[in-house]
Symmetry: D3
Subunit: 215 residues, 6 copies
C-alpha cells in the first residue's frame, strides 16, 4: 500500500501512446494529452465565465486532469471495440470502475479513498464542467489529427478521427465556449498555410537580389 506507488504510476502515462497500431509522424502520450486537455479546458472555462456562466474551477481541473486515469489499468483499447455493443460497453465500464476501486483500496490510506474515488470517476457528465471536459478532450483530438493531416499522413484514419472529433464538438454547439471555438479558433486552424518548396526559389532570389548579388 502506498502513495509512492501512486506517484510512481504517473510515469506510466508517459508510456501509453495514443492511437496505437497506426503510423504517426508525431506520437502523443496520455500524460501529454491530459496536460493539453487541462490547458484547453482552462481556456474554455474562461470563455464560459466571461459569457456569464458560473464555473466550478476546482471541479473542472479535477475532471480534466484525471479524465483518462482508467487507461492505467486497461491500456488503450481501440474505440470500435470498446463500443462494439451496449453490453460490452456496460461490462467494460464496470471493469474499469472495479479496477479503479481496487487500486485505490490497495494504494491509498483510508483518509484519502473517498476523495480519490470521486476524482477517478467518469468525468463527462451533464454538469457545465463535464461538458467542457467533453469538448476539450475532442479539441485536443482534433489538433492531433490535424497535425497528422497537415504533415501529409496518408492514413485516411486521421480524417475519420478529425470528423469524429468535430461532430462530437458540434453536439455541444449551444455552449458559449464551443461557439467561440467555431468562430474564432477553428477558422485560423483551417487557414494555416504550407510552405511550398517552390516558394523557396522565389524567396531566395529576392534575398540575393536585395543583397546586391544575383543568382
Amino acid at each position: 500500500m502506498g502513495i509512492h506507488h501512486y506517484f510512481k504510476s504517473l510515469s506510466d502515462f508517459e508510456k501509453i501512446i495514443r492511437c496505437p497500431g497506426k503510423f504517426k509522424f508525431q506520437e502523443h502520450s496520455v500524460a501529454s494529452h491530459s496536460f493539453k486537455v487541462t490547458k484547453i479546458a482552462q481556456f474554455l472555462g474562461t470563455v464560459e465565465e466571461q459569457g456569464g456562466e458560473k464555473v466550478d474551477w476546482r471541479l473542472l481541473y479535477e475532471k480534466a486532469l484525471n479524465h483518462d486515469y482508467a487507461e492505467l489499468f486497461t491500456g488503450d483499447i481501440k474505440t470500435p471495440v470498446k463500443y462494439a455493443s451496449k453490453e460490452l460497453k456496460r461490462l467494460f465500464s464496470e471493469v474499469e470502475e472495479e479496477m479503479t476501486k481496487k487500486f485505490i483500496e490497495k494504494e491509498f490510506p483510508p483518509e484519502f479513498r473517498d476523495v480519490y474515488l470521486e476524482r477517478f470517476k467518469e468525468g463527462k457528465d451533464e454538469t457545465l464542467e463535464g461538458r467542457i471536459l467533453a469538448v476539450a478532450d475532442k479539441i485536443d483530438l482534433l489538433y492531433e489529427s490535424f497535425g497528422e493531416i497537415q504533415k501529409e499522413n496518408p492514413e485516411s484514419l486521421f480524417l475519420e478521427i478529425y470528423e469524429e472529433a468535430l461532430s462530437t464538438i458540434l453536439l455541444f454547439k449551444d455552449m458559449v465556449c464551443v461557439k467561440y471555438f467555431l468562430e474564432n479558433i477553428l477558422p485560423d486552424m483551417l487557414l494555416e498555410r504550407f510552405i511550398e518548396q517552390s516558394e523557396l526559389a522565389v524567396i531566395t532570389e529576392k534575398m540575393i537580389n536585395e543583397s546586391g548579388g544575383n543568382l
Copy 2:
C-alpha cells in the same frame, strides 16, 4: 475491398507495441513477436517430430504466423482487463470474431474468404499444433521478460510476467518439446552471466601486462 488493404495493414503490426504503459529498455512490436513465435514453433515442431510425433507443418505455421491477428482490430488490451470476468472474456472473443469476419468480408474477394476465416481463428486449440503455439507464444514472452530483468529493469511487473509465462509452459510439461526446453534451453538462459565493471580492471591489467606494459 481489396487485398491491397490487407497487405498494407501488415505494417500496422509494426506499430502495435507489446506491454504498453510500462517503461521497457527494449520494445517489441506484434510483427516482431509473430516472427519470433513462428521461429520458435518451428524448432519445437522439429523436436516433436524427432520425438515421434506427426506434425502438420502447414497448420503449425498458419497458427503461429496469424496468432495475434485480432490485435489489428482490438489493439493491445491489458490481460487483467481481458480476463476480468468470464462474461467479459466471452464478449471480447465474440467482438474479435465479429470484427475479423467483417474485415475478411470487406477486404477479401469471395474465393479467399473461407481460407482466411480459418487462418484468423483462435489457434490455441487441443491439437498438437495448437499446443506448440501456446508454448511458443509463452517462450517468446519469457525471453522478453528475461531481457528486461537481465537489463535490470526495476519494474516488478517483468518478474510477474516471467512467472506467468513459465507457469503456462509448465502446464504443457508432458510434451516432448517442453521437456526439451526445460532441460536444454532454460538452464542456459539462467546461467547467462553478467559482465561486471569490476572485471574490466582485471582484464585491462592482464592485457596491458601481456603486451609488455604496465598500468
Copy 3:
C-alpha cells in the same frame, strides 16, 4: 493573432526534453512533467486540507499547470547558467516576463490578456499554493532522478539532482504535506527492491518442482 496559435503551441511542450545533454534511460517532456507536477500538487493540497489548511484550489491548479510556461520561449537553459550570477538571473527573469507579455499581446484577444498574464506569472511565491508548487516540482524531479539511479544510470549527475531536489524539499519541512511525504512516501521509494537475475534461478526451480518436474 489567435488562440489557435496558443492551442497549437501546447504541443511544443511535448518536444522540450528535460535535462538535455545527458544520457537518460527514460526521457521526460515538459508536457509530461507539468501533468505529473499538477497531479502531485493535487495530492499535496489534499494533505494540507486534511491538516486543516485552507487551499485555494483554483490558484493551486493554475500555478501547477502553467509553472514551466516560459520554457516555450527560452528552451531548457541549464540551471548553473541560469543562476550563474544574480545579475544574469535578474536579466533572464526580465526577458522571460517580456517574452510572455509579448506572446499574450500577440496571440490573445484583449478580453483574455489580464487573466493569462496572471496565469503565466512565476508561481512559486510565499502563498500556500506557491509553496505546494515548489515542493511538487521537486518531488517530480526527485522521481525522475530516482528512476535513472534505479535503472543504474552511471552519470553521477543524477545523484546530484536527487540531492538538490531533496534539499529543496527539506526547506519546506514544516509544511504538513512535506512531513507526510518524508514519513509516508519517501521511505517506500527507498525500500523499492531490485529483481536480481540470481533470484530467477531460485524462482524457476521452485516453480518447476511444484509443477512436479525438476530442472
Copy 4:
C-alpha cells in the same frame, strides 16, 4: 553451444534496420520484414493453389521465414556493394554459407544440424516456392518504398527502389500470383488518395452547416 543462443539471437533481427544510411519516415526491421514476407507468401501460395499449382506449404513457410537469416552474421550490406562484381558476390555467398555453417555447428546439437543447414540455405531457387519467395520479398520492398513516397520522402532513392522491386516482380510475370498482384492489388495501391488540407475546410464547413450552425 545451445539452442538458447539461437532463441536469443532472434531478437537481434529486431535491431537490424533495413536500408541504413538514409532518412526514412518509417523504419523497418529484418524481423518485421520477415513476418510480412511470410504473410505475403502465404497469400501468393493460396493464389497459386487456386490456380491449380501444387504448393509445398512446409517448404514455402520455411523459405519465407528464414530468407534473411544470414544478415545476422553479415549485417545489412548495401546492395551495390554486394553485387559490385561477380567475384565479390561469389566470395560473399561463400562467407555467408561458411558463417551459417559455423553458427549451426556451434549452437545446434548434432540431431538438428542437417535440418537447420537446409532451412538456412539461400531460398530463392527455381522451385515454385523459391519463386513465390522472390516475389513476396520484392512486394514487401515495393510497399516499403511506396510508404516513403506516399509520405513525401524527398530521397529519390525510394523511387529507384520502387522501380527495382517492380522490375524484379515483372521477371515472374508468368506466374499466376504475379498476374493476380498486377491486376488486382497494384492498381489499388496506385489509386490511394491523399487527404489534402484544403479538403478539411470543405468538410468542416459541410459538417457545421449540417449541424445547423455556420462557420
Copy 5:
C-alpha cells in the same frame, strides 16, 4: 581532474538536440552538426585556397570542430533569448567564458590548459578562418531547415530559419567561397525535385508495358 572526463563529455554532444521545442522530421545533435560544419568548412577552405587565399588549415579545423563547445555548459538556449538585449548577450558570453575556463582548470592538467583555452574561444572572428566558420555554420543550418521544408514540415519557423541563415551567408557575399556557394551549390538545392505519387502510376504502367504485360 582528468582528460577521461573530457573524453567522456564528448558523448554529451550526441544528446544535445538542436532547435528543441519544435516538431522536426529529422533531429540533429550538436555532435553531428559539428561534424558537418567541419566538413563544409573543409570544402569552403579548398575553394578559398583555389581562389588564391592562404588558409591556415590547423586554425580552420580547430575553429570548426570546437565552435559549439560551450553548449556543453549552457545547453541549447533559444536564439531570441540569447540576443534579447545587448546586456544579456554580454553577460551570457561572460558566463560561457567563465564556465569554459573552470572546466579546463578542473579537467585539464596544466600543460594543456593554454592550448584548450585557445581552442574553446569564440571562433567567429574577422580572420579568413573565422569567416569561413561563420558561413559553414549557416550553410549547415540552411540544409537543416531545407530538409524540414522539403519533407513538408508545416512549421513556418523553418522558413524563418532558412531566411535567417541565408541572410547571414549573404553578409559574406564578397568571399570567394560564398560566391561559389551561391552560384554552384544553392541553385542545385533549389532545383531538387519531388517524387509525386501521381508519377508512380505513369512509371508503373510504362514498366509493365515494356515488360510485355498491361495494367
Copy 6:
C-alpha cells in the same frame, strides 16, 4: 553532378548506426563517431607535439574527419565478414575505392577531384598522423563499449569489443600519446564508480537529519 549532393550526403552519416543488429542502451551514428574521433585525435596530436614530435595538423584533421567516408557507399558491414578472408578483404577495399572514385567523378567538378581523392583514401597508414588516427578510432570504440558495460548491457559482445579495441591500442604502445592514455586516462575510466540504490537511503537519511528532521 554537384557539391550540393556532397553536402546533402553528409546528413546520411547521421543515419548509419554503428554496431547494428545488437541491443544498445545508447546508439552512435557515424557522424557522431567521426566528430569524437577527430576531437580525440586533436588531443593525442597535442600530446605528441608536447612530446617533441612534429604533427602535420592539416593531415591529421583530414584523416580523422574523413576516415569512415566509404561507409556512405558500403553501409556498416560486420567486421568478421569484412575480414573473413584476405581475398574478400582485398576485394572489399577495391570496391570501396572504386565507389569513392566514381562518387567523386560524378559529384565533384574537375578542379576538386584530386584533393578529394586524397582526402577519402584509407587514412590509417604508417605516418604519425595515420597512427594517431588508428589509436583515436579505437579509443572512441573503447568508450562506446565501456558505456554499454557501465550501463549493464548483458551482451558479452561489448566486452569483446572492449578487448579488441584495447588490444589494437596496445599495438601502438610505444607512441607518446598511447603511453599518456594508458597512464593518465584509462585508469580514471576504470575507477568510475556506480551509484548504488542502497547509497540513496544513507544519503537521504543524512540529509534529513542534517536538516533537523528524521526519517
